[in-house]
């Protein structure tokens, strides 16, 4: 199973470090990262493997949300199924 982590907000130092540290703490393996900064606006989409999460998926989602709040970012974690079902026949 995979999940998609999206991070958006004002660019600051260390965003990727913080997000990937948290992924590591939860046992989520980063498979792919797409990231860019446009006029100080940071946007990143990460694909992570969640088969070996050390805690349940809900707490991973909550912790990412909290991390976003602490850093003035919006971080969403969504199961890949939603993208597959909406955009593929």
């Amino acid at each position: 199973m995979k999940a998609v982590v999206t991070v958006t907000g004002k660019d600051t130092k260390g965003i990727i470090a913080k997000v990937s540290t948290l992924c590591n703490e939860f046992g989520a393996n980063i498979l792919e990262i797409t990231q860019s900064v446009l006029s100080e606006y940071f946007a990143m989409v990460m694909l992570v493997d969640i088969n070996e999460l050390t805690q349940d998926f809900g707490s991973f989602v909550d912790s990412m949300k909290d991390l976003g709040k602490q850093n003035c970012l919006i971080i969403d974690v969504m199961h890949e199924d939603i993208f597959n079902s909406m955009h593929r026949i």
């Binding site: 809900g58 989602v61 939603i82 079902s85 909406m86």
Partner: protein
């Protein structure tokens, strides 16, 4: 690999365009609860609902978290109550309604539907008791929704019931007068009612349904509006295609949630209802979709055609996205729950008569419309009869959820709060229908009901 633009599109739909699953509704059969002892019946009904739907709310929340998609409401629908409530007295039904309200409260759901009766061909004694209990039952409870089906294409229209329900609506408005007659927002009169509708106030668990089932209602007027706006000045063929593709995506999400809920709750999946259900939130309006198509204001000439096209394109797009489609499936046009409709009424472009015309091409009927408190019961009955006639002749569902707001006049405002929104009081044609309604009996089923 997941496509980046797909990810961003989905997130934008949720964050900016109010995409959500409007409701997961668990249908529960209460047929096996029937007994002639009202106290025992109330206990059985309470126990069964709270046992079956015990995990409904928490499961809904877990799914929200997993997919990152808001699931606005978790609800329960039950067997039409007059089938199990007995025929002793209206008080029995009031007690039963209170038991249902307690069950809803225990579960933490916001509405429970199925305090209902099907009288399209005639009423049983039980139906009569149940209908007599509606004003008191709904005015003394919070979460219970009620509906009565008074007509169908196969049976015609039960005009005795129509006549009686005009008084029921008035009485309900009076009993909840301190709260803008909000009781009427929980009561809807149907023709051709679907038995698997997950949306309130008309949800109930039909007799042909299994023991327990999960039905899901999707929404997404904001997403469709954004897609129509983005399309620019294209022609109708192109516009219909864009709406179909958007409806497909929205419905696929509903199907995913429905399957997941069904799996987690170990309850069979019933249907996905492909409805565009507006909310009072800015940007989540069906009227604004019609305006994005090029109308100056909803209600302008062209509105019925625009709505017909929208409704059809939503169904075509959604039908392929779900394994089972049912319920109401189409665009809803409630006035109080749609900011665009409210604005259109306020600026004078949308009238009750235009709304009636619109109901002939969309999925429901005259919905959440506040009318003057001094509107007579006969006029309300006659409006119900008009709507039922549209449903009966066109073989579609129609409904009436009118709120004769006690003590309010045209131009006043009634506030219901939450998803029910607020509504300006609309003028009603005041020429009388008393003699017409007094005739009683049944309007015969139309010739095209003879299909066998």
């Amino acid at each position: 690999m997941i496509n980046l633009s797909d990810v961003l599109e989905t997130i934008n739909m949720i964050r900016e365009e109010h995409l959500d699953v409007r409701t997961i509704t668990m249908g529960i059969s209460l047929l096996d609860c029937a007994t002639d002892d009202n106290k025992v019946l109330c206990d059985r009904v309470y126990d069964k609902i709270t046992k079956y739907a015990e995990n409904l709310v928490s499961t809904g929340q877990d799914i929200e978290k997993q997919f990152g998609i808001p699931i606005v409401n978790k609800r329960v629908s039950i067997t039409p109550i007059s089938l199990i409530g007995g025929s002793r007295s209206p008080e029995d039904y009031v007690n039963l309604c209170k038991a249902l309200d307690r069950a809803a409260d225990t579960l933490g759901i916001n509405f429970l539907g199925g305090f209902s009766s099907l009288v399209h061909k005639g009423a049983t004694k039980a139906d009569e008791m149940m209908i007599a209990s509606i004003p008191e039952a709904l005015s003394t409870t919070k979460c219970v929704c009620s509906s009565v089906n008074i007509g169908s294409t196969r049976a015609g229209i039960n005009m005795d019931a129509v006549a009686k329900l005009g008084h029921t609506v008035k009485e309900l408005a009076y009993l909840t007068k301190d709260n803008y007659s909000i009781g009427c927002a929980k009561f809807v009169v149907f023709a051709n009612v679907p038995e698997d509708n997950p949306f309130m106030a008309g949800a109930f668990h039909g007799v042909g349904e299994p023991e327990c089932v999960i039905n899901v209602g999707v929404s997404g007027p904001g997403v469709v509006r954004a897609a129509v706006e983005k399309a620019g000045d294209c022609n109708f063929s192109e516009l219909a295609d864009i709406i179909k593709k958007t409806a497909f995506k929205v419905t696929r999400m509903g199907q995913l949630v429905a399957c997941e809920a069904s799996k987690r709750l170990n309850v069979p999946f019933g249907i996905v209802d492909l409805s565009l259900a507006p909310t009072p939130a800015v940007g989540d309006s069906v009227a604004h979709i019609l305006e994005a198509m090029g109308l100056e204001s909803c209600g302008a000439p062209g509105t019925t055609a625009a709505l017909a096209m929208l409704n059809d394109a939503v169904k075509k797009g959604g039908a392929m996205a779900s394994s089972h489609v049912g319920g109401l499936s189409g665009a809803f046009i409630p006035v109080s729950e749609d900011q665009g409709m409210i604005d259109a009424v306020n600026c004078g472009s949308l009238t009750l008569e235009k709304l009636e015309a619109m109901t002939s091409v969309c999925s429901v009927g005259l919905d959440m419309i506040a009318i003057p408190g001094d509107t007579s019961a006969e006029t309300i009955s006659a409006i119900i009869a008009d709507e039922a006639a549209i449903g009966m002749i066109n073989g579609k569902t129609t409904a009436c959820r009118l709120i004769p707001a006690y003590g309010k006049k045209v131009g006043d405002k009634v506030e219901f709060g939450g998803l029910l929104g607020y509504a300006p009081v609309m003028p009603v044609n005041n020429f009388g229908s008393v003699k017409f309604i007094a005739r009683g009996g049944r309007i015969p089923a139309p010739i095209h009901s003879l299909r066998n």
